[in-house]
Amino acid sequence: MKLNENNLKQCPTFEEISTYFDGINEVPGIDLHIEECAACRKTLQDIAELDAAIKARANIPQEDIPQLTARIKDGFYRKNELEPAKYGMPFPRVVLHLAAALAICSAVVYVAVQGLTDDMRSANIADPAQDAVAASQIDKFPYYTSNGSGVLNSNGSENSVEVENLIPANYGSSEPVMFNGGVQAGAQKINPVIIRPKVDHVWVVKNISKADDTLKRMIKNSGTPLQLRQDGSVITMQGRLNKLELVKLVRACSNAGFELVSPVAPQPEQHYFKGNSGEPVNYQAQFLVNKGSR
């Protein structure tokens, strides 16, 4: 190697060249040295090739990015529902004060519905926490719910069931129902909604006997094998149907004026779903009258 007064007397260390590669010039004269020293130039060149190889390996083709992102989001929404209450949960959150509530079983339990105006439909939220307001959690109680966008306050009563950030139902959707299992791969729809194999819903109705009539008619028209049972002021509907039938049923209930208070998919306004329309679902729904008064 040739030396001149600006040059280093000896070759810089590998670490110095490595740092130089990253654009940090800590050794005076290192640039001039490398320019004139074949061995150091080779070292720098090796690092550049290494850099290129690692970058190439991490490269994701532009056209794959939407799918990758969609899969990651799907997984997030699916997992995020697993442990709802434990961490002080995300979307719909249920805070149950059941110990006290159970002790007075038939006493009034308040459901404070908060964040109803929070329109989550506009976000690409495919599958918010599914477990909030499972029918099994509140079917024993008459309870209060919002009627529209109002928020009921439990006034700190410890016998309360608090439901936060419930998804507002948007009635009267006319979007066609689609399942991604039947859509061409090219279709650029993202975030299909997941319908779980088991779906629990709670509906609020205005009049229990009218609701009973409506539901009987609905079942008859749809030809689905759903069972109805009425215990006092609660109607339970149960049965196995396919995903498309369920989506239609949910829309029909919504059109009948029932208010869906569980955020579990399918919701009346949802129209793009994961999987195939023929996949089976175990459905259970509770229809209750809101007995609360403000």
Partner: protein, 200 residues
């Protein structure tokens, strides 16, 4: 190295105000970058996706406590690296090719319904690959395996994301001088391994 730090701050502020739907936007911004980190460390597409999903689950739960003194990407990358580390050791203990979400594993919530969904399109992500490209990639992955974990992590953050030393030091919680020496050691080792296998 945040794509849009100002925008990120606004998103975080909105989230803290209760508008949790903005989290979707954060996922749109960072899914790919976190995925690249996870894939770089794990060399497995499925594992990498799992890790990024788990990262977001954790982030969602912790975001309210997130203080704005580091940027959101630094924080997310740190979670991803920690989870990838766990996943890596988990896989090693269980033998390769076992894919289990850490989230499920750690919480013991093996929901049997999980498996029914997500028909993953069997499309392998990664560079446009020729036979030669795939071969090179395999060799790089194998070479990475031979590096100590801390070097691997430092290399990925620097080479894949071109992160400044300072940000890497924050993510890995080490000194800037350590970043520098890890990069040098990692590069030197990787260079040797790749030369031996004829890639360089």
């Amino acid at each position: 190295m945040s794509l849009n730090k100002e925008g990120d701050r606004e998103l975080v502020a909105e989230f803290k105000n209760g508008n949790t739907k903005v989290f979707d936007e954060l996922m749109s911004r960072y899914s790919v970058r976190l995925y690249q980190t996870a894939y770089g460390l794990l060399s497995n597409h499925h594992d990498a996706e799992e890790v990024v999903q788990d990262t977001f689950v954790r982030a969602f739960r912790g975001l309210k406590q997130f203080r704005g003194d580091s940027n959101i990407e630094t924080w997310l990358q740190r979670i991803t690296i920690n989870l990838a580390r766990n996943k890596y050791h988990w896989n090693r203990r269980r033998g390769a090719g076992v894919n289990i979400s850490l989230f499920q594993a750690s919480s013991g919530l093996g929901d049997s319904e999980q498996e029914e969904e997500i028909p993953l399109p069997d499309k392998t992500l990664g560079p446009e690959r020729t036979v030669q490209g795939a071969e090179t990639e395999k060799k790089i992955a194998e070479s990475f395996e031979e590096l100590p974990e801390s070097l691997r992590e430092t290399m990925i953050l620097r080479h894949v994301h071109d992160m400044p030393y300072e940000e890497i030091s924050k993510i890995l919680k080490c000194k800037i001088g350590t970043v520098k020496s890890r990069l040098a050691r990692g590069r030197e080792m990787l260079k040797k391994v790749l030369k031996r296998s004829g890639v360089l």
